[in-house]
């Protein structure tokens, strides 16, 4: 019975076996084809798909270049820090994990939970950026799923608020935002590299395969600034602001022989390492971005025109009686009637009347041409972001007498403190104008361009010696160790509807040491409160202290003329010379 029933089905068995064998063979064939053939969705395609699921290209961060001062002191540098991030899709929001992570980000646990919820559909959320590598390691040690760390660079400014407006700062993505960081961003920024890694299902790197592109580290920038002089300038400026209740201030110091900016201080300042309480007003580098009417500090420059004309020598006398002068509809007074004085004394006493008379005598064009040749109204091309080129009037008619006289004593045009310092550096160098440089210059002397005859420049410098001597307006600019020359200035500030009566800028511009000038410096004190507001009272003392300390630091031989002591070596003892 059984056999009879089974027998007819034997062929079925073989058929089935045969079909299965064929299917199996097809399967093998297909597998072999996928491995060997490149047709259609063949080997290459599959390889690529496989890699796409496990191999990732990561960027390798490159560090930003260092900014140093002229002696190699570091002003800005990048150090690696870690940024913790989370993939909310993989993260298990347990209480203890939330507690740890919320502590790292400095949030309340509920706030962190809410943030996590908002980003639950994304694969990426920062927990906290730029924390120390140790702290990041600690958190990673818990082994929470989906929590990762990536290396970033954070910018540190070791010199802090001493030079913050010059150096500027970067944003969290390491891009320059202000100052040198912005101006030289291209040189400073590194170029991130790329590397291939293999990742597992959870996104952990399990093997590093190859470097696709090596990271290019950022280049170094060496500034002309000497941090020691910069510190002296900031210290004295801050002190002056406190003493005189002033709003703001600037000190600029230029190297006469190279045009390098040795110091550029602005107060109030800010700490670039902690910018939470930073005020936008404190970020501005006033020495290059702010313009002001130079007031009496422009008189020596106008005097160049007078000497150039051949009509005047330092001894030419001018009658300033009766102590005021009427030009068209305006009266310009002197504080007292100086009577008949020579032009040297006009500068020493800063006589408006005398200067106006000289200006009206020689005319507008020569004064204008001297001021323009000194670089007023033209950018110094220092490359500093936001640098102002100042304001200089263009006349489409014959300038009036008032315009000529006011230009001669420093009104009606505006300059930056750096432009003013550059003009005095030109005087100091015997008439050679050198480009202002933010970056260190490798040579000791820059060729420059002659804009004033040497004889005239020397005469004006000699006239400026009288300003700091007894009877001049700038006696407080005199220093203990070095002979100086310079000019005071007290400029009315422009307020709403004309010049404000009780708001002043106190200025001093000068050079030192006067016999062989090394530096030219400008001090600006903005709105000194109280009854001392003259340049000679407020700005000159700052100039004196800054210049004295700076020259000492630069190892310049003291030019002591009064009490010179000469110690002769080789056992001859000490001789005192009068």
């Amino acid at each position: 019975m059984k056999n009879k029933v089974m027998k007819p089905y034997v062929w079925r068995y073989y058929t089935l076996a045969f079909l299965l064998a064929v299917l199996f063979a097809l399967l093998i064939g297909r597998v072999a084809m996928l491995q060997l053939s490149d047709e259609g969705r063949g080997r290459a395609f599959l390889q690529q798909q496989g890699d796409a699921r496990s191999i990732r290209t990561l960027t390798v961060p490159a560090s930003r270049g260092v900014i140093t001062d002229r002696n190699g002191e570091i002003l800005a540098m990048s150090t690696p820090v870690e940024s913790l991030w989370i993939n909310p899709k993989y993260f298990e929001a347990k209480d203890d994990a939330i507690k740890v992570l919320a502590k790292v980000s400095g949030e309340k646990e509920s706030a962190f939970r809410a943030r996590l919820q908002r980003n639950s559909k994304q694969g990426f959320m920062f927990i906290e950026r730029q924390i120390s590598p140790e702290k990041a390691k600690e958190v990673l040690a818990y082994g929470f799923k989906g929590v990762h760390s990536q290396t970033e660079y954070k910018r540190f400014y070791p010199a802090g608020d001493v030079i913050s407006q010059v150096v500027g700062f970067t944003n969290i993505s390491d891009q320059g935002q202000e100052g040198i960081e912005l101006a030289f961003n291209d040189q400073l920024a590194g170029h991130p590299g790329r590397k291939q890694v293999m990742k597992d299902l959870n996104g952990n790197v399990i093997r590093e395969i190859a470097e696709v592109e090596a990271p290019k580290q950022g280049g170094q920038i060496q500034l002309a600034i000497d941090l020691r002089l910069q510190y002296v300038a900031q210290r004295e400026l801050a002190q002056a602001l406190t003493n005189f209740g002033a709003k703001a201030g600037t000190v600029v110091m230029l190297d006469v022989n190279t045009g390098e900016l040795l110091a550029m201080a602005s107060q109030p300042s800010f700490n670039p390492n902690n910018r939470r309480n930073m005020k936008i007003d404190h970020v501005r580098n006033r020495a290059l971005t702010d313009v002001l009417e130079p007031g009496s500090t422009a008189k020596p420059l106008s005097m160049i025109a007078a000497l150039k004309s051949g009509k005047y020598t330092p001894k030419t006398v001018v009658d300033t009686n009766p102590g005021y002068i009427r030009i068209e509809r305006k009266v310009f007074p002197d504080p007292v009637n100086y009577g008949v004085i020579d032009v040297t004394k006009i500068l020493a006493k800063s006589s408006q009347v005398g200067m106006s008379k000289v200006a009206l005598d020689i005319g507008n064009a020569p004064i204008r041409s001297v001021l323009l040749s000194l670089g007023f109204g033209e950018s110094t091309y220092s490359r500093f972001p936001g640098e102002s080129s100042g304001l200089f009037p263009v006349y489409d008619r014959e300038p009036t007498g008032i315009e000529t006289a006011t230009m001669a004593f420093g009104y009606g045009f505006a300059v930056t403190p750096v432009q003013l310092a550059s003009a005095y550096a030109t005087l100091a160098s015997g008439g050679i104008k050198r480009p202002v440089s933010l970056l260190k210059v490798e040579s000791d002397v820059v060729a420059g361009e002659r804009v004033i005859e040497e004889g005239v420049a020397k005469q004006v410098v000699n006239m400026l010696r009288e300003v700091v001597k007894l009877g001049g307006t700038g006696t407080m600019a005199a220093t203990e160790l070095y002979g100086v020359a310079g000019k005071t200035g007290t400029a009315h500030k422009v307020g709403k509807g004309g010049y404000a009566d009780s708001k002043y800028m106190a200025l001093f511009a000068g050079i030192a040491p006067v016999d062989n000038p090394r530096i030219a410096a400008v001090v600006v004190i903005d709105e000194p409160a109280g009854n001392r507001y003259h340049g000679g009272q407020v700005a000159a003392p700052v100039f004196s202290r800054v210049v004295n300390d700076s020259l000492r630091i630069l190892n310049v031989r003291p030019s002591i003329s009064v009490n010179e002591k000469v110690a002769v070596t080789a056992g001859q003892g000490v001789t005192h010379a009068g």
Binding site: V60, S63, I74, M77, S78, T79, P80, V81, P133, T151, F156, P158, A159, G160, V162, R207, E208, I209, A210, E211, L227, R228, Y231, R235, E480, L481, D549, R552, R557, P558, I560, N563, E564, K565, V566, A567, V568, T569, V574
Partner: protein, 79 residues
């Protein structure tokens, strides 16, 4: 022929292995460099805090009683 093919096959594998090993060594050193750079940055920051001009000046004046020499204390020495 077969021997050559096998030989080069082993060679290829060996070189790949070497590459991977050297690359992981490189990565280790890069990480080491980063750590050193981080330390350097921290130390530099520390140095600038301790050596800030303002602090040095204060210490010199107050703790060590130093001062900038006055005019009368300066002697110019000529060779």
């Amino acid at each position: 022929m077969l021997v050559l093919v096998l030989g080069t096959a082993v060679g290829v594998e060996y070189m790949a292995h070497q590459t991977r090993q050297l690359f992981s060594e490189l990565q280790r050193m890069v990480r080491h460099e980063e750590n050193l750079r981080a330390d350097w940055g921290r130390l530099l920051l520390e140095m600038s805090t301790w050596g800030a001009h303002a602090r040095v000046e204060k210490m010199a004046r107050e703790k060590m009683g130093m001062d900038v020499p006055k005019l009368d204390d300066i002697e110019v020495i000529k060779q």
